[in-house]
Structures are given as structure tokens and as C-alpha cells.
């Protein structure tokens, strides 16, 4: 072998050896980036999973050139334009908002809007579906997508108040799952938060009903701010109207508890709180038929998805025909598949 070919082959061998030696270091660096949270959270390539047409050439160039946040802001502005033109319920709008969250997952506003848009606007949009079962199913899907979207947003922004509140509020106001609402709203308490958060948690327990826990939270509100008229009034209401029935139920005196609940129901037959209380007492007493009946009555009041979901759950237990209820479908699917991706 001549000197020059020896140098040539030796050079390539050196290249190979250096590349091989580089690999453990490269793996270690990549691993550390993952540990220290330096990895770009959403690879631009994930965009192809979504509607790629929402990413025009200029924006794609901005993404590849390292201007990811600018690209996100540009798509966001385009989505706002679409919204203002009245195309907010089109799939393209949703894809744009979602792409914004992919490009800049630490920007909270797109997560909030996407979650709200799915759980509220798209939910209402499903009213156009004539088949009631399909309609309920689609509504459940949109609610679930809204909730999942907010949860994903929290996973990227666990140190910020906003999305915890948004998710808690969606559970409280839209899904009417008061357990989940109180859980997620409680997470907001670790941050600087407005006074009404504790009151919403108390309201959630009141509606569930969990009267003692509701009282505890109102009590906290009053101690924090003795001038908190809302908490003070709610405490008085619970004491006057529901607490006796609640205590009797806890003591196992179900008939007396029902009589107590009836006292206020006679005055306000459409008030959901005594209706919930009565249904709950029957459920605790093991009288599921009556519990089902009263949850159904409560479910006829406007926007009471919580009561309808409880009624559907009991109907399933009793072997009755289950009415299509989005909140119930959502809970069933959640039990079947605990982790879902939006």
C-alpha cells in the first residue's frame, strides 16, 4: 500500500472512529436535554398530523428558520381573522388554533381558546345533528376534546394559574362534573388567585351535594374576608334549608331526612339543590329507583348535566334504557380509556 493510499484509508478510518466515539456523548447530551426540559416541546414535523393546509409556505419557512413563535403568532392572527368573518366553527379554524398550540405550547391564550371553543362552541354546533344518539355522542366528544386540550396545555405549563382555572371552570360550568371541578380549581390555590375561586369550589360541593365540605369552604372564605357576603349568605342558606336533612342522612335516618328535604322542596320545587339533596339521600338509603326518579326530575331543569349524568348512571345500574346524555357518555368513555389524546 502506497503512502498516499495509507493516509487516505487512515483518514477515513479516523473519521469512522471519531463518529463512533461521538455516539455515547451524543446520546448523553440528548438524554440530558430531555431531563432539563430543553427539548423543543412540539417538533414542527408533528404539524403534518394536523391540517397541513393551514401552514402556508411563509409560515413553514418561519418554523424551519427557527422563528417558531412568530409563525405561531401569524397563524393566530389568521385564525382570529377567520373567527371575525364568522367561520369560527369550521374545522380549519380549529386546526389553526391547534397548530398555534403545537408551535408555541407555552403561550396560554391559544390553549384557553381551543379548550373553550371545543367544549362550548363546537358542543353547541353539534345541535345541528338530527339523530339524538349521535348528537349526544358528538357533544361528549367535543367536551372531552376541550378537557383533553386544556389538560395537555397544563402539562406544558404546570407553573401557571390560567389553565388550571380554565379546566376547573369547564368541569364546573359545562361538564358539571363537580369532583373534577373542585380538584382542578384546588390546583389554582397554589398561585395568586382571585377570591371567588374558593367560593366556586364551595358551590361545586353544594351542588354535588357534599354539604359539610361546602360549609368548610364557605367558612374559610368568611375567615379570610369577614365581609364576604356571598359566602355568608350561602352558609346561612345551607344551615336553614339543607343541613338538618344532611345530618339526618349521615345518621342513617333517611325517612326523616327526606321529610326535611321535602319541606323546602314544597316551597321551591324547581330548585336544584334540594332536588339533588333528595336524590342523594335516596341513593345513600339504597333506594335506587327513587334516586333515579329524583335525579331525572332534577335533570329536567335547564343545563343540569350533573343530574342527567347521575340519572343515566343509575338507569344503567337498574337495567333501564339509558337516555343519551353527553356527560354520561364522556364519563363512560373516560372509564374505558383513561388517557386520550386531542
Amino acid at each position: 500500500m502506497s503512502k498516499s493510499s495509507f493516509a487516505r484509508y487512515g483518514g477515513w478510518l479516523m473519521v469512522l472512529i471519531l463518529l463512533v466515539l461521538l455516539q455515547p456523548l451524543s446520546d448523553s447530551v440528548n438524554y440530558e436535554r430531555l431531563i432539563y426540559g430543553l427539548v423543543r416541546p412540539m417538533p414542527a414535523t408533528r404539524l403534518v398530523e394536523k391540517d397541513f393546509t393551514v401552514v402556508p409556505g411563509v409560515i413553514a419557512g418561519a418554523i424551519l428558520g427557527g422563528f417558531r413563535e412568530i409563525a405561531a403568532a401569524m397563524i393566530w392572527m389568521k385564525s382570529t381573522e377567520l373567527w371575525n368573518k364568522g367561520h369560527g366553527t369550521e374545522l380549519k379554524y380549529l386546526s389553526m388554533v391547534r397548530t398555534t398550540t403545537l408551535l408555541d405550547p407555552h403561550w396560554l391564550e391559544p390553549w384557553r381558546i381551543a379548550g373553550w371553543h371545543l367544549a362550548y362552541n363546537m358542543y353547541v354546533e353539534a345541535d345541528k345533528i338530527p339523530d339524538p344518539e349521535l348528537r349526544a355522542k358528538r357533544k361528549a366528544q367535543y367536551m372531552q376534546m376541550g378537557v383533553d386540550c386544556l389538560k395537555e396545555g397544563i402539562s406544558w405549563n404546570p407553573d401557571h394559574y390560567d389553565l388550571y382555572f380554565e379546566l376547573g371552570w369547564t368541569y364546573f360550568d359545562k361538564v358539571r362534573n363537580y369532583d373534577e371541578a373542585s380538584k382542578w380549581l384546588s390546583h389554582t390555590l397554589q398561585f395568586e388567585h382571585p377570591e371567588y375561586i374558593e367560593r366556586i369550589i364551595a358551590h361545586a360541593y353544594e351542588r354535588k351535594p357534599e354539604m359539610q365540605k361546602a360549609l368548610d369552604w364557605y367558612d374559610y372564605c368568611i375567615k379570610r374576608n369577614p365581609a364576604d357576603g356571598t359566602a355568608y349568605g350561602a352558609t346561612l342558606t345551607i344551615h336553614e334549608r339543607y343541613l338538618t336533612a344532611w345530618r339526618l342522612m349521615e345518621e342513617g335516618k333517611y325517612d326523616e331526612a327526606i321529610e326535611e328535604a321535602n319541606c323546602y322542596l314544597a316551597v321551591a320545587p324547581n330548585n336544584i339543590l334540594p332536588l339533588h339533596l333528595k336524590a342523594h339521600i335516596y341513593e345513600q338509603a339504597g333506594e335506587l329507583e327513587k334516586a333515579y326518579k329524583w335525579w331525572s326530575v332534577a335533570g329536567k331543569t335547564a343545563l343540569n348535566a350533573h343530574a342527567r349524568e347521575r340519572a343515566a348512571r343509575l338507569a344503567r345500574q337498574l337495567g333501564k334504557e339509558v337516555p343519551p346524555e353527553p356527560a354520561d357518555i364522556m364519563r363512560q368513555e373516560q372509564m374505558a380509556v383513561p388517557e386520550r389524546k386531542f
Binding site: A7, R8, G11, W12, M14, V15, L18, L19, L21, L22, Q23, L25, S26, S28, V29, N30, E32, R33, Y36, G37, L38, V39, R40, P41, P43, A44, T45, L64, G65, G66, F67, R68, E69, I70, A72, A73, M74, W76, M77, D104, H106, W107, L108, E109, D159, H160, Y161, D162, F191, E192
Partner: protein, 274 residues
């Protein structure tokens, strides 16, 4: 041995600074960095993140343009204009010529980055306290001292990133004409940005066939991983620790990779008829 390298590097540096298009890119980059103060309001509630992103993105992008357009012409221009004969007729070996050209190119790129970095750092020092004060009481918590340090760290990583890009451009310029060298460097840069995606594609658990796993796995191992130079995710977040060992590893990895790339360039250049 080092003297010829020094003279080639010095001549390359001076020649590069005389090129008008490089000066134009630098001016435009500084204008872009300055405009980030206005553009940051495109993301209400996340102005500082936007400022950092546009500023560092501009430095990376314009630095990349300088590194590629200058690096890709360093050797190929000398060959095409036949000036290389004059130089190689002197007691300068091909290796010394290549290393000198590379060092001259890198110092040019780094000096441009330094100017952009100073401009951006100054802008951050001026703007950040005001934005942070306006955000007080909101859920965002800024640690300004930490942020300043990490902005400097990020600029340091851009130096390293463009070190690799310049090495690639110079190596390609030993093989191809300057146009092909430019295209090849941009191609490797963009593919290198997505190296993690290629790694995922090579994963048999994600459905890659054995052949695809080997081919894509090899490509992933050979490609430069440009993602490692990006730490924008951590700049504003005090909750993310960054021990010094990590940047030290990145420096070692980068330097080794550059040695590999320049060695490949030398092997091609040594064989090439000029």
C-alpha cells in the same frame, strides 16, 4: 507549520469583511433584532418569550446565512478563479490552506454573531425589566438575572452551532461548486434540525422495518444534531436547572464533530484536481 495557517486565516477574514452582501446581512440582522421590541407585542401576555425568540431566532437565521454563503465560497471560489494555484505554489500545504480558510471563515462568522449578540443583549437589558414589571401580579414569574445569564448562554450556543455550519459549508465547498455547496449545507442544516424526528422514524417500536431502522439510524448517527444548540425553552423558566456539565458536553461534542467534518473535507480536497 502554524504561520501559513495564520496568514491564510487572516487574509480570509479581511476578504470576508470586505464582501458587501455580508455587511448587508449584518445590518439587516441588527434591524430585525431591533424590531423584535415591536414584534414582541404579537403575543400578548408572552412578550418576553417573543422578544427572546425573535432576537435569538434572528441571530441564528442571519448567522446561518452568513456562514453558508461565505463558507460555501471559501474553497470553491479559489478553485474556480484559479487563485488557489498561486497559494499552493507557496510553501502552504492543502491541509494548512483548508484549516486556514476554515479558521478565517469561523472568525468572520463569530465576529458577526458577537455584534448581533451585543445588540440583542443590550435590547434585552433595556426591555426585560419593563415587561417583567408590567407582568407583575400575573401568573408569569420572571427571574431577570437568570434570564440574562441564559440569554448569554444561548448566544454562546449559536457560536457553536454556526461553528458546525461553517465546517459543513467549507467541506462541501471542497467537493462541489459554490451553488451546490450552498444547497447541500442548507439541506443538511434543515435535516439536522429534524434529527430527532429521523430518530423516531428509525424506531422499530414505531413501525420502522429492519432495513429502515438501519438506514435511518445510520443517517441519524451521521447527521449533526442542531437541536442541541437550542435552549430557548429554558431561558425564562427558573424551574429548569442547567448544570455546567451539559454545555461542557455540548462543546466537546461540537468540537469533535467539527474535526470529523473538516477531516472529511481534507480527504476530499486532498484528492481533488485543482
Amino acid at each position: 507549520m502554524l504561520r501559513p495557517i495564520y496568514y491564510v486565516a487572516k487574509a480570509t477574514f479581511h476578504e470576508a469583511w470586505r464582501r458587501r452582501f455580508l455587511n448587508g446581512i449584518l445590518v439587516f440582522a441588527i434591524l430585525m433584532i431591533g424590531s423584535s421590541r415591536v414584534l414582541m407585542y404579537m403575543q400578548p401576555g408572552a412578550e418576553l418569550r417573543m422578544l427572546v425568540d425573535i432576537g435569538l431566532g434572528s441571530i441564528r437565521f442571519f448567522g446561518l446565512l452568513i456562514a453558508v454563503f461565505m463558507g460555501a465560497r471559501l474553497i470553491s471560489d479559489e478553485i474556480e478563479k484559479r487563485t488557489i494555484h498561486t497559494i499552493l505554489a507557496k510553501p502552504v500545504s492543502r491541509g494548512q490552506f483548508l484549516i486556514g480558510k476554515f479558521i478565517g471563515g469561523v472568525t468572520t462568522v463569530w465576529s458577526n454573531i458577537a455584534i448581533m449578540g451585543v445588540a440583542f443583549y443590550g435590547l434585552v437589558r433595556l426591555t426585560a425589566p419593563r415587561v417583567a414589571a408590567a407582568a407583575e401580579g400575573e401568573s408569569w414569574v420572571y427571574s431577570l438575572d437568570l434570564m440574562y445569564g441564559r440569554v448569554l448562554g444561548s448566544i454562546g450556543l449559536i457560536f457553536l452551532e454556526l461553528f458546525v455550519v461553517t465546517a459543513l459549508a467549507v467541506t462541501f465547498s471542497t467537493i462541489f461548486s459554490w451553488i451546490l455547496a450552498t444547497i447541500s449545507t442548507f439541506f443538511i442544516y434543515f435535516v439536522g434540525q429534524m434529527s430527532e424526528f429521523i430518530h423516531q422514524l428509525a424506531d422499530p417500536e414505531r413501525g420502522a422495518t429492519p432495513v429502515a431502522a438501519i438506514v435511518l439510524g445510520t443517517i441519524y448517527r451521521i447527521l449533526p444534531h442542531f437541536e442541541i444548540f437550542d435552549m430557548r425553552e429554558a431561558i425564562l423558566d427558573p424551574a429548569r436547572p442547567l448544570p455546567w456539565e451539559h454545555p461542557a458536553k455540548v462543546v466537546i461534542q461540537t468540537c469533535t464533530y467539527v474535526v470529523v467534518v473538516i477531516l472529511i473535507g481534507y480527504l476530499f480536497f486532498n484528492e481533488r484536481e485543482v
